[in-house]
């Protein structure tokens, strides 16, 4: 196990940020921690990095307990949301900063910086200062600074959130490729569910300081353990079918839910009227008067006001206990 977080608790002035968090990250794995704003995901990352102390529990890196070890001695690298590049230093000095602090020889620093810069594609920017770089270039420099030290674990705190949509997709792919080529252990924090689902070997869903579910993206999306996870992942979100919905058999004490892509529009099923159609590129979101949204290929979208028939297969329905909201 590369990283293990055991029963970690953290409070700020009586407000619980992390509540008995258990998490294990395998060697070479890319784990994405995802959750809404304020759920404690960044706090978790900072506790692993040693930038925050924990109130209870323990943190292990490479089978060594590091709960009270100072940040620099944990051999972790962190990429911050704002990249935290040192503004007065050139790209070369930024990347080599940690090596200089560790008093490595000038020749070694130069070699390692050149290697990290080549891997991240910033080798032509070494003489520039951070303010002369674009958002994507800054991001690459931050990654180069993280990997130059050859750390045991990479911690990435929402590194893509400051980039525009197009660049985010590109950098997501680059991080994924970098992870594959390095085979390094990475923990990536994000609030973006698409980023989590596309990037992670596994994802951990956090809510109010608690880990709700850990699993592969397919597992977590396909078999959410509770209603929160089911609704948090997916865009548009899961349709919650109330007891009186004609789309699911009503059962007392049970909440049913269906993903928009599993709401089928066709010649059979329950009659419904189309209230609104939103085109989102290749897919369209069809809002029906039954209170559900269907996701259909754009070329197959019905017209607004049209009358359609809606079918939901029983196998596609997720059922949760109405009280505990756990999956049944």
């Amino acid at each position: 196990m590369s990283v293990a977080v055991r029963q970690v608790r953290k409070e700020y002035d009586g407000v619980v940020a992390l509540d008995s968090v258990d998490l294990e990250v395998a060697e070479g794995e890319l784990l994405v921690v995802v959750g809404p704003s304020g759920c404690g995901k960044s706090t978790l990352l900072r506790c692993i990095a040693g930038l925050e102390t924990v109130d209870a529990g323990s943190i292990w890196i490479k089978e060594r307990e590091v709960t009270t070890v100072r940040p620099a001695a944990r051999n972790v690298s962190m990429v911050f949301q704002s990249y935290a590049l040192f503004p007065h230093l050139t790209v070369e000095d930024n990347i080599g900063f940690g090596l200089v602090v560790r008093e490595e020889s000038k020749r070694q620093v130069k070699e390692k910086v050149a290697r990290a810069a080549a891997v991240t594609g910033v080798d032509r920017l070494l003489g520039r200062k951070p303010f002369q770089l674009s958002g994507g270039e800054r991001q690459r420099v931050a990654l180069a600074r993280a990997l130059v030290r050859d750390p045991d674990v990479f911690l990435l705190d929402e590194p893509l959130s400051n980039l525009d949509a197009g660049l985010r997709v590109q950098m997501r792919a680059e991080i994924r490729a970098l992870h594959r080529s390095l085979g390094a252990t990475m923990i990536h924090v994000t609030h973006d569910q698409v980023e989590a689902l596309t990037l992670g070997d596994r994802i951990a869903v956090l809510d109010a300081g608690r880990v709700r579910q850990v699993g592969t993206p397919v597992e977590v999306y396909g078999r959410p353990c509770d209603l929160f996870v089911a609704r948090f992942l997916g865009s548009p979100p899961l349709n919650v079918l109330h007891g009186d919905s004609p789309l699911a058999q009503a059962r007392p004490g049970v909440i049913a839910g269906v993903r928009p892509e599993h709401v089928r529009l066709g010649g059979e099923g329950v009659a419904a009227r189309v209230e609104l159609v939103e085109v989102a590129g290749s897919d369209a979101y069809v809002h029906l008067d039954l209170g559900v949204v269907a996701r259909v290929p754009t070329e197959e979208r019905p017209a607004e006001g049209a009358h359609v028939r809606v079918l939901v297969r029983d196998a596609d329905v997720h059922r949760f206990d109405a009280e505990s909201e756990r999956r049944l």
Partner: protein
Amino acid sequence: MPEHRLSTWSRRTAAAIAAAVFLLPLWFMVSGSLREPGTPPPRTPELLPWPVSVESYRDAFGLVDLARHTANSLAVAALTVPIAVLVAAWAGFAMLLLTPRARNVLVVLSFAALMVPITALLVPRLTLFRSLGVIDTWVPLIAPALLGLSPFYVLLFHWSFRRIPAELFEAARLEGMTPFRTWRRLAMPLVRPVTAAVALLAFIASWSNFLEPLVYLFDSDLYTLPLGLRSLEVLDRTNYPILLAGAVVATAPVVAAFLLAQRYFLHEDRGAGWLGR
């Protein structure tokens, strides 16, 4: 006339008026010092006297040992300014490492200390320095620099360091930087304009300090320039060009220091000014 040209024109006019308000007294001081010694002040403002004479400067340096006093002032400032800047920067950075509550207490205490008038400190300080046996030395003039010279300088540094994003300091911590190295290699390069401002303010405070040298210094060989000017006035009260020549000698280093520091204020060093936000 297009609106933006009008606004540029009015801005430049306002800047010229403001510059004239500050520069004209300086110029009249210089032109007055170039009059022949013993001549009375002109009845109307005079841009340049005729004949132009530098006799007043020769007389001023002859009447009083202005060269020695200038050297003394420079020596005191050369020791005071770096110590004051260092201590104020250390204290401002140290405040950053405290808990928010402790930090707030120190800010309030600093403001309280700022409100204490210097005259209220003269007697206790005189007693202290006398008991230490350092009266009639430069130690009492330099010693306040060990406290940052003024709480205002400490607060200036503290507020500047607080503007630096916390993530930069956290990144430094992860790289294994000690607080001292973080201060030296990360924090100080990012607050160069403030360092220049504090250095300039400390220099002016030290250079123009009249009261404390008057209280602590008795040996005229140790006198600083403000005491030398005072001697000049006592020796030849009515010789107006000589007094102005002494004033020019006293003012020139301050103007030079300002011009030197100005590039830090005006030059937009984006390498240090951009804080990654």
